[in-house]
Subunit: 207 residues, 2 copies
DNA sequence: GGAGTAAGTTACGTGCGAGTAAGTTACGGT
DNA sequence: ACCGTAACTTACTCGCACGTAACTTACTCC
């Protein structure tokens, strides 16, 4: 069977193709503005195929979001699994930025609004809770106000997410540089900004 | 004419009522998920009235967004009009937080996605450019890397916007406290967090 | 009190997009 | 070669929500 003659794809191949095309399309136009028809067109098939595989528009969307979340979470989890607190933070920030760099469409999908409010909101809420817990115990140790822990967690997350978005639209810097600046701001504060911040090593154990 | 008997409103009153109801509804459900029908229902009138006043759904939305942006921008502008750089930054942050506190629905509307991508994206882009310019000149003076100025601008904006959102969902702290923490983080960096950050005065010359 | 206008209603047209039923074509095994 | 199944298409239904045309009711000012 020659590749060029091939018209029909297997179930698995079709699923993967549709997830990819769907991700790109949702990233470009958002959930509501994307029609099932359009995704079908881009994939050069007809609508019912999508219903066959995913049960409907929401089904496809759910699969896309789920995969993206899984991807981001697994990378961040790997990055914060060990090391000093500072190394873990650096790892998490760099992991996130690398996700954005490697899968811009996925990031875009997660950032947009969705029907069942799954997406970035949930992801960031989760991450926020995690970070917040770490902070709470550290704050307690250091005698700071524990109630403020979630605030600082949110602040850091917002900072990173926003910088990532800006960076995606103005991709003139290397990941390492972006990460270095963000981390510098987190650790040192604006007042003592270094002229050339240290560049944390890019984790090597991820594709 | 007794107030209780009054059924018909004047054009201006109706406009204001619809803007208010529209803001609340769009804030709750987002642009797409809100139907003209529903807004009409909540206002206890019929659909064509809205078309009469605003020409359509987008027209109403545009007016709402415009008013909200105007409101936020005017407050921030007033806050950064004079003082030392630090006072200006404090003023801007506090002004923004007070906007969120005073008009939560407006903030919600601006944050959501919209048809013509007006909204928070544009607002923050504008503010970002402003802040970025200030930073660029300061950075030059201090010998830092000028290209990084927009990054730090975005970082601060993202931080404030995210904290604001979190605070809206967990309104357990006073504005002054939230502002103090955010500003502490900006100025001092995480490493030297004070146990009880200074509380900047709330600007008195705004309603 | 009645004409004129502003405010508001009912009842529709229209289009688009989600979802489906029934029929058709390629492919793979025997 | 041919049968069965999995992949795919054509051709619809249905409902919702934007927008509009034509009509009706309340208010105001002489």
């Amino acid at each position: 069977m020659s590749e060029s003659t091939r018209t029909r794809l297997s179930a698995g191949e079709r699923r993967n193709q549709l997830v990819e095309i769907g991700r790109k399309t949702f990233a470009e136009k958002g959930y509501d503005a994307t029609s099932v028809e359009e995704i079908a067109e881009r994939a050069k098939i007809s609508k019912p195929v999508i219903y066959e595989h995913f049960g409907g528009k929401e089904g496809l969307y759910a699969v896309i979001v789920d995969r993206e979340m899984e991807y981001v979470i697994s990378r961040i989890s790997a990055a914060i699994s060990e090391g000093t607190p500072r190394e873990r933070l650096e790892g998490a920030v760099m992991a996130f930025l690398l996700c954005v760099q490697d899968r811009p469409d996925g990031f875009a999908v997660l950032q947009r609004d969705s029907p069942t409010n799954t997406g970035m909101a949930n992801l960031l809420a989760d991450v926020g809770d995690q970070v917040s817990n770490v902070f709470a115990s550290e704050f307690k140790k250091a005698g700071y106000d524990r109630r403020a822990a979630p605030l600082y967690a949110q602040a850091i997350i917002g900072m990173v997410a926003f910088v990532a978005q800006w960076w995606q639209e103005n991709p003139k810097m290397a990941v390492e540089e972006v990460g270095a600046h963000v981390l510098a701001m987190i650790w040192l504060g604006l007042r003592d900004l270094p002229k050339e911040p240290d560049q944390p090593a890019r984790p090597a154990d991820y594709p």
